[in-house]
């Protein structure tokens, strides 16, 4: 068995002698059996290591989180990896039993033991789930009684989150007028998440708090002249985060020409330094009010994106390569992540979590965060194929 590191001999294993070997074969673990078990464990670990390295080496270029998730869904990668992991679990049991058979261990008790262990684990899980459901039900009931007695002011933000999680969104929506100010913003955000955006917008329009407005869909924000109905401070507040979101870029660029010179320059700069800057190139003729600096920046962007597109199809374009070498790796998002070097978007973090749950079958938040950082579209990583060569 090449490549296997033999386990160090323990005091007990050193005591195995020819005279007690027969008894040992039937009842105790022999060095050969340990070697096989080690081999199995080593293969499992190597697989996990390679899978993790494979995930680490994926290249995301300048794709948005949404596009990365779309690719995941199209290829069903998470489910497929989950299936593989399940197969390994089942096969490992089979191997354990086969190993036991080679060493003439009694097969049936071992199978029975597995079965009992699984049944007991399942029973425990069910019990835990039942208890959990019961606890959740009791907690909801207690909160609703509290509301009946003392009104919504007796709730905390955590209580609101809990009630919405337990299906209370509709109840909270109907009680919006009675919600105290300190709970209002969190509740509105939760209701937007729960799909009540349309109802909320019908009720409050652009009077929603700016923290909520930035979480609405582009259809709502840019509908008719909604955006321009806001005061300029709020417009700026909204432009900053949405200029980073792919689905907002086209509608935002669409309304650029309608903005006054100051706002147009502000929005232009935000988009131009964000990850979706290439979209500005398409609309260069529509941007009348840009400052001379921003016009130059637009020209730079235009040339750079032509270079990227050209470089993609004709990689021998040395002249432009010299001019723009290294520039394509620049990213304003990297700069903005300076305060937290491992900061990543939620969707990338969630996707990584699912993959790592499959890879490790346990929680390991530090590692997940590190890998999520490596999976983030702003980080360039070497190609997956190189790893397997």
């Amino acid at each position: 068995m090449e490549g296997i590191n033999k386990p160090e001999k323990t005091k007990e294993s050193l005591e195995i002698t020819p005279s007690n070997q027969e008894q040992n074969e039937n009842n105790e673990i022999t060095p050969d059996e340990i070697e096989l078990q080690t081999w199995l464990a080593k293969q499992t670990l190597e697989f996990r290591k390679e899978m993790l390295a494979g995930i680490n080496n994926l290249e995301f270029g300048n794709l948005s989180d949404k596009e990365v998730l779309e690719a995941q869904q199209e290829t069903n990668v998470v489910n497929k990896l989950q299936e593989l992991t399940d197969r390994i679990k089942i096969k490992s049991w089979e191997f354990q039993d086969k190993i036991a058979l080679v060493f003439e261990k009694n097969f049936k008790p071992k199978l029975h033991q597995h079965k009992t262990e699984i049944e007991s684990r399942v029973a425990k899980d069910h019990l835990k789930q039942d208890l959990n459901k019961e606890n959740l039900y009791l907690r909801s009931e207690a909160l609703y009684s509290k509301i009946e007695e003392n009104g919504l002011k007796s709730l905390s933000n955590e209580d609101v989150d809990f009630l919405i999680q337990q299906g209370g969104a509709s109840y909270m929506m109907n009680s919006l007028d009675k919600v105290p100010e300190n709970l209002r913003q969190n509740l509105l955000l939760r209701l937007v998440d729960e799909g009540y955006e349309k109802e909320l917008f019908e009720k409050y329009g652009m009077n929603l708090p700016k923290e909520v407005l930035v979480n609405l869909s582009p259809e709502t924000i840019f509908k008719e002249n909604n955006f321009f109905a806001l005061n300029e401070d709020i417009q700026k507040y909204i432009i900053t985060p949405i200029s980073l979101k792919v689905m907002f870029i086209n509608p935002l660029i669409e309304i650029l020409p309608k903005m006054n010179a100051e706002m147009q320059n502000y929005a232009f700069e935000k988009i131009a330094t964000g990850p979706n800057d290439y979209r500005l190139v398409m609309t260069q003729n529509k941007l009348e009010h840009l400052s001379p600096e921003n016009k130059n920046l637009l020209e730079e962007l235009r040339q750079r994106h032509y270079y990227l597109a050209d470089g993609y199809e004709n990689k021998k374009n040395e002249e432009v390569d010299k001019k723009y070498k290294g520039e394509k790796n620049k990213s304003s998002r990297k700069k903005s992540n300076k305060s937290d070097p491992y900061k990543v978007s939620n969707s990338v973090y969630k996707a990584t979590n699912s993959i790592l749950d499959v890879a490790f079958g346990k929680k390991s938040s530090g590692l997940k965060k590190l890998v999520a950082y490596k999976l983030d579209p702003v980080n360039k990583v070497s190609r997956l194929r190189d790893f397997f060569k």
Binding site: E50, G61, E67, K98, V281
Partner: protein
């Protein structure tokens, strides 16, 4: 079971384990490669879309 028998069974089993994991690694490689191809296609269509609109 005598020792020779046991040795050959041990070897057989260790090869079986190795083969199984080799197979699983190949499948993992294929799954991740499909995913990588999907990402690559997204990048290409993004660039093409950008060119078309110019």
């Amino acid at each position: 079971m005598n020792d020779t028998n046991k040795d050959s069974k041990t070897r057989e089993l260790s090869s079986e384990i190795k083969e199984f994991f080799d197979e699983i690694k190949t499948e993992t490689y294929n799954i991740l490669e499909d995913y990588e191809d999907a990402l690559e296609n997204k990048r290409i269509s993004k660039i093409n879309h950008s060119l078309k609109n110019n």
